[in-house]
């Protein structure tokens, strides 16, 4: 994917546009993210990429591969190893007119930056009555299913979604990865951009740049009439597989990829739930206080009389993320989804 002069000149806030289109080819999510970063860097000279090992190494997941070489160490560089420092300096840079795109190396390593994210990134605009925008994109590889050592597989989305002031996105496929990341970087609101690690190597045939549905919209990725199954990031694939397995048993499952966790797309989800009268949400994070709680609560509030059954949460168990040999028992599977559907009273 070459970035030509035209791209630099014309690319603007709208995602996609600008870069000369590539021929359709299989693209992994890491490559799609890499392309989004490259095109964003080319489109706006205020875009900066920094973090731990994102420069020479290209990131431990190779999402930033080649960018330092292409844009130079003044645009893409390795920072000292300190996450609060990375986020805190990004705040200052954004106040100074930059659009920093920073990486937290693994999900649990965003925690040292928690105060900067929650007390400043989320609140600066409100605190200053809109005078100060913080167009920062915080990229966080998240979730498990990679046989990782402790602290490398957390699903921390609930911490961010329960913080007013943050926009939280998570792509489940390469096309969305490209399109949503470009939109995030172009947004004047700070975005927590959560990348599902286990889907980094997922391939899709794409021509780049690609523009998918805008952020803040959920997408129906498979139509169905009996059950609405809500998923995001790593569990979209599980949801689709569960829908396929359900179909074999005569169950028609509609799968919705939420894409944006905050704000929640009530419209798309309510429309589906009013049609099916049953819904479930699937995520890797533990259940208690997980993101699924918000989904279940708000969808029930808005659609109570349309529901034939309680909204189910098919999730990780309420335990710390386990060691690799226990991972398979922890993660929600197709079977767990189908079992959950069976707990409903289908006569209602």
């Amino acid at each position: 994917m070459s970035v030509d002069a035209e791209a630099t000149a014309s690319a603007t806030a709208d995602s996609g546009g600008g870069t000369a289109a590539t021929a359709p080819a299989p693209v992994t999510m890491t490559k799609a993210l890499n392309a989004a970063l490259r095109d964003s860097l080319a489109a706006d000279e205020n875009v900066l990429v920094y973090g731990e090992d994102v420069g020479r190494l290209g990131g431990v997941f190779r999402v930033t591969e080649g960018l330092r070489k292409e844009f130079g160490p003044e645009r893409v560089w390795d920072s000292p190893l300190a996450e609060s420092g990375i986020v805190g300096t990004a705040i200052g840079m954004a106040m100074g007119g930059m659009r920093p795109v920073i990486e937290m190396q693994f999900d649990a390593y965003a925690y040292p930056a928690f105060e900067q994210i929650v007390s400043h990134v989320a609140k600066m605009r409100n605190r200053t009555k809109g005078r100060v925008s913080l167009p920062i994109t915080i990229r966080i590889p998240y979730a498990g299913d990679i046989g990782g050592v402790e602290h490398h597989s957390d699903s921390s989305e609930a911490y961010w979604t329960s913080t007013p002031g943050l926009t939280v996105l998570t792509p489940s496929n390469p096309a969305d990865a490209y399109s949503l990341l470009r939109e995030s970087i172009a947004s004047d609101d700070p975005v927590i951009f959560m990348e599902p690690k286990s889907r980094y190597w997922m391939k899709e045939t794409l021509s780049l740049p690609v523009t998918t549905a805008p952020m803040n919209r959920a997408e129906v990725v498979r139509k169905g009439s009996d059950v609405t199954l809500l998923a995001y990031g790593p569990t979209v694939r599980t949801a689709v597989e569960a829908a396929e397995a359900g179909a074999e048993h005569g169950l028609s499952v509609e799968v919705i990829d939420l894409r944006t966790l905050s704000p929640f797309d009530d419209e798309t989800v309510s429309a589906s739930v009013r049609k099916t009268s049953r819904a479930a949400i699937i995520h890797e994070a533990a259940q208690f206080g997980g993101y699924g709680a918000e989904v279940a609560a708000r969808v029930t509030e808005r659609n109570f009389t349309h529901l034939s059954a309680p909204i189910l949460r098919i999730t990780g168990f309420d335990v710390p993320y386990p060691s690799p040999k226990l991972e398979e028992y922890y993660l929600p599977t197709v079977e767990r989804v189908l079992d959950a559907f069976e707990t409903w009273d289908w006569e209602l």
Binding site: G88, G92, K129, R131
Partner: protein
Amino acid sequence: MTIDVPPSTGRALPQLQPISFIGPDSSPTDAPTEGLSIPSDRTLLGLYRQMVHVRRFEAQVTHLTRQGRLATYPSAAGQEACEVGATTALAPNDWLFPTYRDSASLLTRGVPVAEILAAFRGDWHCGFDPHEYHTSPAATPLATQTLHATGFAMAAKLKGTDAATLTFLGDGASSEGDTHEAFNFASVWQTPTVFVLQNNQYAISTPLREQSNATMLADRAAGYGMPGIRVDGNDVAAVFAAVATALERGRNGEGPTLIECLTYRMESHTNSDDPTKYRDAEEVEHWKQFDPITRLETYLRSTGVLDDAGFDEITASAEELAASVRDAMNDEAVIDPSELFAHVYASPRASLGEQQKILEAELAAAGRA
């Protein structure tokens, strides 16, 4: 192993005696000056004037809290030389990153009285437009702003502007992890950042000796390959000279500087604090002899820069400032409840619109809309 030993430039620990030009007895000191020069008479007079102003301002605001008209106010009384000396050294394009303690610096930076008060009387969190005054919102979470100042300076460096940044932090805040990270990032990136550490010897009730075992906090700098100096924080001449020079170093691409200003918090932490629990009246009394304002006043009178007429004019204008504080308080802003929702996101959210309707209905029902 004789390999890979980097050069020792800038490594030495600096002077122990704080840099000072004008001593507690108002005469020139023989303390180290580390190559700095005393500011001009004109500058000193301006610094004096501004110190008198900020002290009057803080006395007036503290009085308002005693009357119960303002909830909480952290006064910097006793620290005027740090506040005014450092802030005055800034160029207009530089950015200031203050804390809750530094209203005096906001005033010095030109933020209008009503906007400073807006935060304290609960109108809105920040109170002023940061871009207008090149001044960040006063930070409440300790030490966090040191990183903002570093990042802003990095942006300025990358954009090639000549802006430098100055941030205040306290002796207590120096213990937070963020302070360390800011020192390190600033030095690795060689950003034009000046860290003005107001060592007023207390973090609320916690005395310095329980905060740090360092001989002096300026000694931290050596561990980052950054110059660190200690200044008599009650000598505004020294503070101004040290900060102005450090800002200049930053603009010249020579990186950040840590300046420890040794001073003392004369008032309680805020008006809701009870300092008798943790320090003696004698200690406070003792520090009166180091007062930054009377010290400079006597000096300026002795050099003939200040006379009775000048003094009276400054006093009168400080009284006007105090009056403007009272006026501002009488001019109570009415806050529109829709402000709750207006600035959370750049792009509006439907769900916030729904919530705003709930609130509007509540207010209408209560006959308040």
